[in-house]
């Protein structure tokens, strides 16, 4: 049953990917990309990766589409043909590499083989010890925020740097005088139905984001997903009410504070752990009882992750959305 399902979904993935590459219209490519991401999320779910599917859902369906569309608004919608001269070389390279990669997979273990090398090294340790060391059931969250906390810290900083980079690249004209204008004054205010429904939905989205944030130890969820969901809620608000209202409600400085605060919170927890005599990000020294201490540490750093991701995605969106398109040279 699962196998049939997986075959079906994977075939659809390939078809969609081919269609994305074939189309000349970048708008269509964006729409197909969102379908691609939905398919990918279902695939992840079938392959037992609930947390990953939730992340893909939160990021792929909303934020990616919106950012691509705003980039298209600022550039051009059409593609004017590929570089014809290199085309056949590209096809040959690609086909050869595909054949090589497929022949390389012949000796890999079958899908789902419990004896595959991946499952032998540290994974059993994580699965066996999470309950005893952390006291909550979601192993993914445990590995993310405690066993491999350094990795996650690095990822948060990458997101931070990307957001700052986007701001530097696109916000240069902000506040430099009259040519800087907020693009959409009114947003979709004149569309009554989306506005009403959006007004109804946004509180629930925020609530759901917080639920995902703080329920991440027990079910699928955590800082990354929650950050993306909350950011999506604010993006919906910005789309509905226009940039100016959205920025008044949640200013650039507040977004920046969120990014910096989140990253700093994460790092600070590590430093506090060091000051208390442990190693960096070793939460067990935070309190008397090591299990509670780890839980507290994880909740705090998940909060940091959530804040940083939410702020970063929002500031990226606003960097794109608030920029004025230049007159297109024909």
């Amino acid at each position: 049953m699962t196998i049939v399902f997986a075959l079906f979904l994977l075939t659809l993935l390939v078809v969609t990917a081919l269609a994305i590459v074939r189309t000349k219209n970048l708008f269509i490519a964006t729409m197909l990309l969102s379908i691609f991401s939905l398919l990918m999320a279902v695939n992840f779910f079938i392959l037992d990766a609930a947390d990953v599917a939730l992340t893909e859902a939160a990021v792929g369906a909303g934020v990616t589409t919106v950012i691509f569309l705003s980039a298209l608004r600022l550039t051009s919608q059409y593609e004017r043909g590929s570089l014809a001269s290199s085309r056949w070389i590209a096809v040959i390279v690609v086909v050869t590499t595909t054949v090589l990669l497929i022949s390389g997979t012949i000796n890999t273990p079958n899908l789902g083989d419990p004896n595959a090398p991946v499952h032998q090294h540290v994974a059993p340790f994580y699965l066996e010890n999470t309950e005893a060391l952390m006291g909550f059931p979601n192993v993914v969250t445990a590995v993310l925020s405690s066993f491999r906390g350094y990795d996650t810290l690095g990822e948060v900083f990458v997101v931070f740097i990307a957001a700052v980079g986007v701001m530097f690249i696109l916000d240069a004209r902000q506040g430099t005088g009259p040519e800087y204008e907020l693009r959409v004054e009114k947003g979709l205010k004149h569309h009554l139905i989306p506005r009403a429904v959006g007004g109804l939905l946004i509180p629930f989205m925020l609530l759901f984001g917080l639920y995902v944030q703080f329920h991440g130890e027990y079910g699928p969820g955590g800082g990354f997903q929650a950050g993306a969901i909350v950011a999506t809620a604010f993006i919906l608000h910005a789309i509905l009410e226009g940039e100016r209202t959205a920025l008044k409600a949640f200013s650039r400085n507040a977004q920046m504070a969120l990014i910096i605060g989140g990253s700093t919170l994460y790092g600070a927890v590590g430093v506090v752990c060091m000051l208390k005599g442990g190693t960096f990000l070793d939460y067990s020294v935070l309190m008397e009882d090591p299990v509670t201490a780890r839980q507290v540490g994880i909740i705090i750093i998940e909060l940091g992750v959530g804040m940083a991701v939410c702020g970063a995605l929002l500031s990226i969106f606003h960097s794109f959305a608030a920029r004025k398109p230049v007159a297109q040279a024909k």
């Binding site: 708008f27 197909l32 279902v42 779910f45 859902a57 999506t232």
Partner: protein
């Protein structure tokens, strides 16, 4: 299943809005599918995923509406194939 049909429409759909329609439809189907699959797997706690889809799907389509309106107002004209 319907998803095949939706993808078929998305790939061959004559106008651009057919693709958007397919994307939107696909989102709803994904939410339904996730709910049913999590029921079949017997892990009802994964309904969170379907909930996420139910909430987030709207944003993409509204972004399309805004994109189109922006196009019209800036005089760039309509979208076409």
């Amino acid at each position: 299943m319907t998803m095949v049909l939706a993808v078929a429409r998305a790939v061959k759909g004559p106008s651009i809005y057919d693709r958007v329609l397919a994307a939107n439809m696909f989102g709803t189907k994904t939410a339904l599918l996730l709910a049913v699959v999590s029921f079949l797997f017997g892990r009802m706690d994964f309904l969170d995923l379907a909930l996420a889809y139910a909430l987030i799907n709207l944003v993409g389509v509204l972004a399309v509406l805004e994109f189109v309106e922006g196009r019209i107002e800036s005089g760039k004209g309509k979208l076409d194939d």
